[in-house]
């Protein structure tokens, strides 16, 4: 670690390129936050700020939108280099797969029911990350899905029964 001045910022050309990449994440964050503030203001534009000299429903949202705008601008000017994790591609790939499983769970729940959806989720995760043999993956997933049914529906009394299989 060393203290640097404006003239010598301590970065090689490669590091500067890397720095630009990482700085841009902060800049993108800043732009996204600005967009959120704008959309939030627009969506609540018709709400009154004051109602008969009393604070109205749009007072807090307007204050928040202004605060977020100011903070987004500060983030833009404070953009800092990030450490490179080297795991980016793996993270994105696995993120998309897991989120995809969850979205499929949301879509299929009314059709397949709680137990079959849990079975599918378990099997999907097992087959995607470090798969074993199909037979044991399927048996293990079936045991967990059935156990979840008995624990949550039978023991805790949660109303999943209308989704259990095709009942």
């Amino acid at each position: 670690m060393r203290i640097v001045t404006e003239e010598d910022d301590g970065y090689s050309r490669d590091m500067k390129r890397e720095k630009w990449k990482t700085v841009s994440i902060d800049r993108i964050s800043s732009l996204v936050l600005l967009l959120v503030a704008f959309v939030y203001t627009l969506a609540g534009w018709r709400l009154p700020i004051w109602v008969k000299d009393l604070p109205g429903p749009a007072l807090t949202p307007r204050i928040l939108a202004v605060a977020l705008t100011v903070l987004a601008i500060i983030i833009w000017f404070q953009a800092q280099p990030f450490p490179k994790s080297g795991q980016g591609r793996a993270l994105w790939g696995r993120s998309v797969i897991i989120l995809g499983f969850l979205f499929a769970y949301y879509l299929m729940l009314p059709l397949l029911g709680y137990t079959l959806c849990n079975f599918g989720l378990m099997l999907g995760v097992r087959r995607t990350f470090e798969p074993g043999s199909w037979r044991w993956d399927a048996i293990g997933s079936a045991i967990i899905a059935t156990a979840a049914y008995f624990i949550f529906v039978r023991m805790f009394g949660l109303s999943f029964t209308e989704f259990f299989l095709w009942e």
């Binding site: 000299d53 007072l59 605060a67 993120s95 769970y105």
Partner: protein, 505 residues
């Protein structure tokens, strides 16, 4: 009811079989969550939160508190045995705990962590019992302006301590407050940001967002960032000799006691919780040690102090919730959600209105600490063996818990969509180094803040000067100013330090 009477009364209630059972389940689940890397106390609590709605509130809170400090206990196991902290408060334990294990003192390190946690946890329970009534009586004078400034101070400090730039922390807190404005405005009765969806009239489901941010996003990070099959082949240490020798015990007594005091008070500060407590304790022990050079090489003080502090910090974090009704950490904010679901709104009057609830929860923590000692010392080999469970099983199981918990909260399929979207946003936030804790805290504190703001402005006929005219509120505003200005001044007058090599970055 004075504190001694209260504790005795609470112990009587906490010893009832059902309460004991929920306390046991809480500490068991907490230890499990703490042992498993990736899911911290927030995720562990969130997963079980929906199930608490069908339980008796006292038993639910006993269980949730058990989960919280159980996580602190469990987190030390993986830190010591595998150098993989189960949760953030145990990160510092890796430095000396794992070194002790490498020197053949794994059992002693685990015992010091467990005994330290027990000693400090017990001290913190008594601290809570004696301090809470005094704080609560002080807070009886609070009106809406005081609550507004107090909540704002807590939220800002949480953003400040979120380990990233203040602007990023605050921006996430603001986003959380924005999400909190969705739905029917309590004061004005207007519907805001519902876009015609019936599911949004009562607001965005907090449990679904928390589950997405802290459950799904954490799972994804665990899978993607720490997915290491070799962890399962980590050689396990000799755990038959679990008691520290005389020298280790002698060197650890002081750090345990100091850790208990530090942890309790630091934990009660806004936004700090167990993690900051353990760092402060470690820094102090190193500073006052006659052999600071031994820290990082297996010093028992470096295990006993921080582990004691993080457990006391977990109890200390309950002080603002139970005495002021304002949660200062995400975990206590989740507990607040559970209380609100049961129709109990924490306030300074909680101890007067629901003494049974308050003292049972406080006393159960002492029992929970005893349970944890019994669970952790003899069964440490069992917890260590959990590291061998394939991660693909755990990921699937946690996801099943997440979707079940979210759906069970309202029996709404829409919430499954919310948890998926929140999970995706959580991953993006991690990539952009935007902290999730201030967002969650903002979302939960949002309605409290907004109601207090509106009521204050109604009282003052629209003048914001009410926040500086009332002495207590003015003190909070002053503290808020200091909290926000110090980092700014440091930035303006401090020199910029950057790493000089890519490796250092």
């Amino acid at each position: 009811m004075d504190p001694v009477q209260g504790i005795l009364f609470g112990l009587g209630r906490a010893m009832e079989p059902q309460t004991l059972l929920f306390c046991f389940l809480g500490v068991l689940w907490g230890t499990l969550i703490g042992v498993l890397p990736g899911i911290g106390p927030t995720g562990g609590l969130t997963i079980l939160l929906p199930l608490t709605s069908g339980m008796d509130l006292t038993q639910a809170m006993v269980m949730m508190a058990g989960i919280y400090y159980g996580t602190m206990y469990g987190g030390s196991t993986t830190s010591i045995l595998a150098a993989v902290p189960g949760e953030t408060a145990s990160v510092i334990t890796v430095l000396d705990g794992h070194q002790m294990a490498m020197k053949g003192r794994a059992g002693a390190a685990l015992a010091l962590a467990a005994i330290g946690s027990f000693v400090a946890g017990t001290m913190a329970v008594f601290g809570l019992a004696f301090l809470a009534p005094a704080l609560a009586s002080l807070a009886l004078d609070f009106g809406p302006p005081e609550y507004f400034t107090l909540a704002l101070l807590g939220l800002s400090t949480a953003a400040l301590l979120s380990n990233v730039s203040l602007a990023k922390g605050l921006s996430m807190a603001v986003i959380g407050l924005m999400v909190g404005t969705v739905g029917m405005s309590v004061i004005t009765g207007y519907q805001r940001y519902t876009f015609g969806r019936i599911e949004l009239i009562s607001g965005v489901e907090i449990i679904a967002v928390l589950m997405g941010l802290f459950g799904v996003a954490e799972v994804i990070e665990t899978v993607a960032m720490t997915f290491r099959p070799e962890l399962r082949r980590e050689p396990l240490f000799d755990l038959r000799r679990i008691f520290p020798n005389r020298e280790e015990t002698g060197r650890s007594i002081g750090p345990m006691l100091r850790g208990g005091v530090i942890g309790f008070f630091v934990g009660a500060l806004p936004g700090s919780g167990g993690a900051l407590s353990s760092y402060v304790s470690y820094a102090l022990e190193k500073k006052i040690s006659k052999h600071p050079e031994q820290f990082g090489t297996g010093a028992p003080e470096g295990v006993a102090g921080p582990e004691a502090a993080n457990n006391a910090g977990a109890t200390g974090a309950l002080v603002p919730l139970l005495t002021l009704g304002v949660p200062y950490s995400v975990v206590t904010a989740i507990m607040l959600s559970a209380m609100v679901v049961h129709g109990v709104f924490p306030s300074p009057l909680l101890m007067q209105r629901s003494p049974e609830f308050f003292w049972t929860v406080v006393s159960s923590m002492y029992i929970g600490n005893v349970m944890l000692l019994v669970l952790n010392l003899p069964l440490v080999g069992v917890w260590a063996a959990l590291l061998r469970v394939p991660q693909r099983w755990l990921v699937g199981l946690i996801l099943v818990f997440c979707v079940t918990g979210v759906y069970a909260a309202n029996f709404s399929r829409f919430d499954l969509l919310v948890v998926t979207i929140a999970g995706g946003i959580g991953v993006l936030m991690k990539r952009a180094q935007l902290p999730a804790a201030p967002l969650a805290l903002g979302m939960i504190l949002g309605p409290i803040l907004e109601n207090a703001l509106m009521q204050s402005l109604i009282l003052s006929h629209g003048s914001p000067l009410i926040f500086v005219k009332r002495p207590i509120a003015a003190v909070f505003v002053g503290l808020l100013g200091v909290a926000l200005l110090v980092p700014l001044l440091q930035r303006l007058f401090g020199r910029r330090v950057v790493p000089t090599t890519e490796e250092e970055m």
